[in-house]
Every structure is written in structure tokens, then in C-alpha cells.
């Protein structure tokens, strides 16, 4: 389609539009550089006074200790060890769960249950991490204490279990995608050679998708290293190196734990420095991911590269030869694991709902919130305000960037590759790092302070990659013939984009809005120190305000609130209901548009 533009290349209006879209696309590069630069800038005092190596390899973290010299107080080696070990254990466990689940969904799931199962996995991804953490704290840890007769259950066991469940949707969905893009002739060929279905799946299809699975695992590593709120509830934050039932720290948990009381002199810069080190980890992981993605193609005969389609998947009648081989054990395992994943999700949802419903009443939801009582009314307003403003910022940016990537950019050019790398990097940055950036850059350097405006700005960065990717996806699905028809009728490129292409891509944009709303609703780590955690009604975007997820944190950490645990559960229940509604909305929207385009 680019050839058509060249006819009217000199038109300045077109060039201006092109430049604007390119700038929107390049915004992600700017954002990543700004995050790296300002975190480094603000942690510089810490590095200078503590010394980079003392900081990185010191074994003692005792920030306010008067009896130690400054360089000896701030050592984060135990935290790095904590993050690394917890990541390894939970990615291993979560990876196994996720791969078996993905195999089950793609190859074994009965056709009728399949949409339900996909929906369940999406729901698992949508539950706010603070709800997972609270579930672990109130259900899993007391259970572990009784099972293992340990004094307390903080430590590797509880945090690994919860974190690996949280990783399942991330790893499973990418594994699923790459299994589905294994060419159908691999599957058929193996069956034709006399393999059973189980042998085919586990010895042919799964190895063929290994690159995608590797990418999924690396993405899981990124998620695990950056996970904050759930981990913060479960690790116990003691002064230990990680152990099964020993309270230990991770980098993320320390930041959230201590930021509230940290002094400006050295403690806060040191915490920001932890964020910077965390960011370095994430950048390294993202580079690995990019490298893996680059050779992600499945080699094979291009002529027969048919993908698995729903209809072709019902070929299970070939395969009911019980051979008692390892693959059959794996088949049983994959069914069992997916059942386990589904059941634990249902259990978490019902546990929280049942515990939460009893705490819900009209006054708690909509009563006046102030010094005498704390209600959720301000949280509803704050959540709405934050959603509005962050979408108002990120939607134009994201759609503009997507337009550039799909309509203007030359596919495979270096500029596009760079932009894509940075968009992926931005989407991999943990929310706690966004929180630090918002606090430092918007709050401190731009003098916005801690308020809803700051929170919305921070969140708009967080949801930007989602909006770009989802819009770009649906833009590329618009057939070229529509563009060509529009050009043939004499429409300019800009006009074609706005009048023909964008309306066709409406479903993708709506989906991206819903996904972003979900992300915003469940976000807490990025908001606590940018938008604040107070229970007052926000007067404007310049007041502090807590969204629903932050209110859960607030109830759990503020002193002197009556019935705080039941209020925590009630808020968690509302969050889960919201996530459910959003998930259903995505499905409904997709169905509606699919029906319309089929007409």
C-alpha cells in the first residue's frame, strides 16, 4: 500500500500526519529512556555514598541502624538472592503447570469446554495481584503452618505456590499460541507414521514449539522478578537468605515495604536504587526475549504450513491406543494439571467472594467517608477518575503509534524494529518501577506531587503497550483491498485511515480499552506512592486518592480501622466481580464484531 502514497508524496498535510504518528510511535522509546535515566539520576546519591559494590554485594540491610557506617547499612545481596531464587522456583513450578495446561487446551480439551477454559485462564490473568497476596496470607499460610508444623509460613513455599499460579496465564497463553502455530502436517505426519496421539503431542508438537515455550518462560521470568504486591504479603521480609519457611526479602517487596517511612537523605535513594537494579534485570531479560523471538520461526515445508484450526482438532479418534508409554503418563498429567489449575482458580474466586460478601453493605459501599468511618465511595470515584484521565492520555498516543506501525512503517526496517523492541520493553517493566518513576519524575521533578494526576500519568504509561499492540493487531487485519478501494476513489491517505481503516478496527480498540481498564483497576504497586493512599473523597485531580486495589492495601496497612480484614475481603470481592464483568465484556465485544464481519 505504500506505493500508493508515493503518488501524493509532496502533500504537506500527509507528511505532517506521518510525522505526528511517527512521533507517537517513538514515544515508547522516550518513555523507556526517561525511566532508566531518572531512576539512575535519583539513585545516584545512594550509589555514590554507599558505593556500587557495597550496595550490590553487601549482606546487611539495616537502613536506620545508628551503630553501622553508611556503606555497611545498605547491602542488597540477600534481596537479589531472594528475587532470583523465588523467580527460579516459581517459574519452574508455574512453567510446568502452564505448559501442561496449554497442551490440554490445544490438544485434549473437549470442544465444548474449550471457550470456558480459555475464559478461566484469562480470568486468572485478570485477578489483581494484591488479591492473590491476600488469599495467600489468609488461606494458604495458616494451612501450611498446620500441615508442616512450622512456627510461621512466610518464606519460599508460600510465595512460590501463589506466584506460580499467577504466572500460569502468562506462560500458558504464549505456549498455547506457539502450539497452535505448529504446522498441521507435523501432527498428521506423525499420526500417519503410526504414532499415538499422545506420542505425537509430546514428541513432535511440543518440541516443535520449543522456541515459543522458551519465550513464554522468559516472559514469565520477567513477571516473576517484577511481581510486587502478592510477594510482599508472603515473603515475610526477614533478614535471611531465602529458605523454605524462612522470612526473606525480594527487591520488590523491600521497595513497597519501606518506601512509606524512608527518609529523604539516603534511605529513599537506596530504595530507588533497588528499583534501578531491578530495572537492569528486566532490561536484560527483555533482550533475551527479543533474541529468542528473532529466531522464532518454525522450520518446515512452507507449502504445507497449515495451522491447526478448531475443526481439525477433533481428530482424537485416531489415538486411543493405550501403549503405556511415558507420553500417556504425560497425557494424564496434563489433564490433571489443568483440572488443578481450574479448581484452584475457582477456589480462590469463591473463597474471596464468600468471605467478602458478608462485609458488604450499602453504607460501606456508598456512605460518607471521612475521619469517623472509612467507606469505598471515594475509591469508586478515584478509580473512575484515574481510568478516564489515563485513557484520555494513552488512547490517542497508543492509536497513533499503532497507525504508524501498521499503515506507514516499512515492515522490518530498523526504526520499526527498534520501536517494537522498546514497546516490548515498556510492557515488561514491573509496575513497582513505574511507581518509582512516577514518584520521582512526575511527583518530584515536574512538581506535580502525589495525587490522582500523577497516578493517571503513571498508569497511562503502563497501559500504553497494551493499547498499541491490540490496536495494531486489528489494523493489520483490515484487508488491503479496502484501502486500495478508498485510494481509487481519490481519498487521501489520512482520510483513508480515519474514514475506512480505523472504523474497521473498532473492535480491537474497544478490546484494548477494556483490557486497559482491567489493568488500571487491578494496579496497586504503581499507585500507592504516586496517587497516595487516603480514604477521603478526591476534590480534584490534584487531591490524593486511592483506587479500589489501593484501598485493599490501605485497609491492611492503616491503623485503627474497625473490621479491617472483612473490609479487605469485601474490597477484594468487588474487584473480582469487576474483573469478571470486564472479561465477559471482552468476549461479548469480540463475538459481536465477529458476527458483524461475517455478515
Amino acid at each position: 500500500m505504500t506505493t500508493f502514497v508515493k503518488l501524493k508524496d509532496k502533500m504537506t498535510k500527509e507528511n505532517v500526519a506521518r510525522a505526528i504518528f511517527a512521533a507517537f510511535a517513538a514515544f515508547s522509546i522516550l518513555a523507556v529512556f526517561a525511566i532508566v535515566f531518572f531512576l539512575l539520576y535519583k539513585s545516584f546519591p545512594a550509589f555514590r555514598q554507599i558505593g556500587f559494590f557495597n550496595f550490590l554485594f553487601g549482606g546487611t540491610w539495616s537502613p536506620t541502624n545508628p551503630s553501622l557506617d553508611v556503606p555497611d547499612r545498605f547491602g542488597i545481596l540477600p534481596m537479589i538472592a531472594g528475587s532470583v531464587v523465588l523467580t527460579l522456583t516459581s517459574v519452574s513450578l508455574g512453567g510446568v503447570l502452564a505448559i501442561f495446561t496449554a497442551v490440554f487446551i490445544v490438544y485434549y480439551c473437549p470442544k465444548k469446554i474449550k471457550p470456558v477454559f480459555n475464559q478461566l485462564v484469562n480470568l486468572l490473568a485478570g485477578i489483581p495481584s494484591i488479591v492473590y497476596g491476600y488469599f495467600g496470607l489468609t488461606f494458604l499460610m495458616p494451612l501450611l503452618v498446620q500441615l508442616f508444623h512450622v512456627p510461621q509460613a512466610y518464606g519460599l513455599v508460600s510465595s512460590t505456590v501463589i506466584l506460580s499460579i499467577m504466572l500460569v496465564p502468562t506462560i500458558a497463553s504464549i505456549t498455547k499460541n506457539s502450539l497452535e502455530s505448529v504446522p498441521m502436517n507435523y501432527y498428521e505426519g506423525a499420526l500417519a507414521l503410526g504414532c499415538t496421539k499422545n506420542q505425537t503431542v509430546f514428541k513432535v508438537c511440543l518440541p516443535a514449539a520449543k522456541n515459543g515455550i522458551l519465550a513464554a518462560m522468559i516472559l514469565g521470568v520477567g513477571r516473576a522478578v517484577g511481581e510486587t504486591m502478592a510477594v510482599q504479603f508472603l515473603v515475610g521480609s526477614g533478614d535471611n537468605y531465602p529458605g523454605l519457611f524462612l522470612p526473606f526479602r525480594t527487591m520488590t517487596s523491600s521497595i513497597v515495604l519501606e518506601m512509606g517511612y524512608a527518609d529523604e537523605i539516603l534511605h529513599k535513594p537506596a530504595l530507588i536504587a533497588i528499583g534501578f537494579i531491578l530495572l537492569l534485570f528486566i532490561l536484560a531479560i527483555n533482550l533475551c526475549l527479543a533474541a529468542v523471538k528473532r529466531n522464532n520461526s518454525i522450520s518446515g515445508n512452507k507449502l504445507f504450513n497449515r495451522k491447526i484450526r478448531e475443526s481439525e482438532n477433533a481428530v482424537s479418534h485416531y489415538s486411543w491406543h493405550k501403549t503405556g508409554s511415558l507420553q500417556d503418563v504425560l497425557w494424564i498429567l496434563s489433564c490433571a494439571v489443568s483440572l488443578l489449575v481450574a479448581l484452584s482458580l475457582l477456589f480462590i474466586v469463591f473463597f474471596v467472594l464468600i468471605k467478602g460478601v458478608s462485609g458488604l453493605d450499602f453504607n460501606f459501599l456508598f456512605g460518607k467517608s471521612g475521619n469517623a468511618q472509612v467507606t469505598l465511595a471515594p475509591a469508586f470515584l478515584s478509580t473512575g477518575m484515574v481510568i478516564l484521565l489515563s485513557l484520555a492520555i494513552s488512547l490517542p498516543l497508543g492509536i497513533g503509534a499503532a497507525i504508524f506501525l501498521s499503515e506507514y512503517a516499512k515492515k522490518g526496517s530498523r526504526f520499526v524494529k527498534t520501536i517494537n523492541l522498546f514497546i516490548d520493553t515498556l510492557s515488561g517493566v514491573p509496575s513497582v518501577v513505574f511507581g518509582l518513576f512516577g514518584m520521582v519524575f512526575f511527583g518530584n521533578i515536574l512538581h506535580i506531587g502525589i495525587n490522582l494526576l500523577n497516578g493517571s500519568l503513571t498508569l497511562s504509561l503502563i497501559v500504553l503497550p497494551t493499547i498499541i499492540r491490540s490496536t495494531e493487531q486489528s489494523l493489520t487485519e483490515v484487508p488491503d483491498s479496502m484501502r486500495e478501494a478508498s485510494y481509487a476513489l481519490g481519498a487521501s491517505k489520512v482520510r483513508t485511515i480515519f474514514k475506512v481503516v480505523l472504523p474497521q478496527a473498532l473492535s480491537g480498540m474497544i478490546t484494548s480499552v477494556i483490557l486497559s481498564v482491567g489493568r488500571i483497576v487491578s494496579e496497586s504497586a504503581a499507585l500507592i506512592y504516586t496517587a497516595g493512599a487516603v480514604a477521603y473523597m478526591p476534590q480534584s485531580y490534584l487531591s490524593r486518592g486511592a483506587t479500589l486495589s489501593v484501598m485493599m492495601w490501605f485497609f491492611n496497612s492503616a491503623d485503627g480501622i474497625e473490621n479491617a480484614p472483612s473490609k479487605c475481603f469485601a474490597t477484594a470481592a468487588i474487584l473480582i466481580v469487576l474483573v469478571l464483568i470486564l472479561n465477559i465484556l471482552v468476549t461479548v465485544v469480540e463475538k459481536y464484531f465477529r458476527k458483524r464481519s461475517n455478515k
Binding site: L68, G238, E258, P503, S540
Partner: protein, 276 residues
Amino acid sequence: MNKTKNKKVTAIVLSAAMLATLGSTALLGGCSKTAEINISGSSSVSPLMLNLAAEYEKTHDVSIIVTTSDSSTGITEAKEGKNDLGMASKAVSDDALTTVQIATDGVAIIANNACEITDVTPEEVYELYANGTPIQGKIVAAVSREAGSGTYDAFGDLIKNAEGKKLKSLSAFASCVSVQNATLSVKTAISSNTAANTIGYISMGSIDDTVKALMVKGVAATAENVKNGTYSLSRPFNVVYNTEKGLSPEVKAFLDFILSDAGQKIVSESGYVDVK
């Protein structure tokens, strides 16, 4: 076909514009007419301050905004004139500031209700937090607040070993110590500890029936014992303000209320020690 699309796009643009106006009205409108009192600082003092504020707001047309952070933030903001009153859960010595003590708080050592042990000594507590030495063979784990919190500071200052070494000067706690960043989390950790073998510490005003307070050297953690000096683990609750800036009439009226009989009654009802 194309017309309906156009309509849809227009509708989206319109609704976006509406949302934007809605947002900007929220940004601009919202200047409340009642006088505001901004109080910020120690999270240990804030539960008491919230009770006082709630009572005061019933009879006076002011809105009191209590922002919780820590003592040092409260003090810094008072110095810079960013708040009307700063809250500090420790002694304040600063020439530019006027300090008013509004209450005294005891730091209570708490255990699960099912715990058999009722009485501990500061030395035993020190050994548990420092070296993991079990207390009377029963208590083997402990919960602490995070570095920087006022309660952590007070506890670290007050708990000493036999040689008088402060807990605060340790470089690391024993492996049995976990850290929580809120009073409620400490209480939850203790009350959900069905083995009843863990202790923690919280402000005396935050004790409720989910946990029990242990005696220290035979003295119960009660307001009377703090007042007569027999319970050793205590600290002042102060409010500070910039001497030069002084107090506005509204803030002065609120401070007078806190120190009045009615205000001090709320202090003792909230579980703290009045300063009469």
C-alpha cells in the same frame, strides 16, 4: 454502512469530549467552603488523631485531613509550613518548632490469645529478636515492623540486652523474625499463628481482643502503669507546628479541643494515656 460507521466514530469522539469535560470539571470545581486543617505525620499517632478529628467535626464546621506517613515527614512538613500540624511519635528537639504533647503511648508486646506465656523480660525479648533464643522454651518466632517506622524506632530504643545494648544497633535480626509494615499485619500474623509461638509489638492503643498483651517484668501494659512509670516501654505522642508561622484560629481551636477534658477523654478511651 459507511454512515453508521461515521456515526459511531462521531459518538466516540463526542463521548471522549464529554469525559474530558467531566474530568476538567472535577479538576476545577471542588473547592470546598469549609475550613481545612491539614495534619500529616506519624502513622502511630494517626489512629488517635482520626478519632479526635471525627469527634471534633461533629460539632465544628471544619474538615480535617489526616495524611499518614512518618514522624520525620510530619516534622519536615511542619518546618516547611506545608501542613498545619505535624504528628510525631517521638521527642522533637528543633528550635524552629513548637512541640505539644497530646498523649503518651505504651508499646505492647503481643502474643496469640492461646499463648501460655504471660510475662516476659526485655532481655528475653532482645535475645529472641537478636539470636532466636526461645522465650521460656515456648516462643520461637517474632514479628517486627520495618526500618523507619516510629514503632520500630521506639521498640529498638527501649529493648536492651543485659549489657544495655539497644536492639536498634543490631545489623540483622535472627532468622525467626519476619517484618510487616503495618500494625494490622502484625496483629494478623500473630492472631493467625495457631501454634501460638510468635510475639510482636504494637502501639498500646491498637490492642483489641484478637491478640493479648504480655506483661513486662510482671507489669501489665495498661494506661495506669504507663502513667505511673512502672511500665517501661512508652513514648510520647507529639504534635508540632512552625513557631514563626503560628496557628490559625481554626487549628488553635482544634488543638485546644485536644488538650481539653473532652479531648483527653477520647485519648484515654482510644487506649492511650492522657497528659493531664
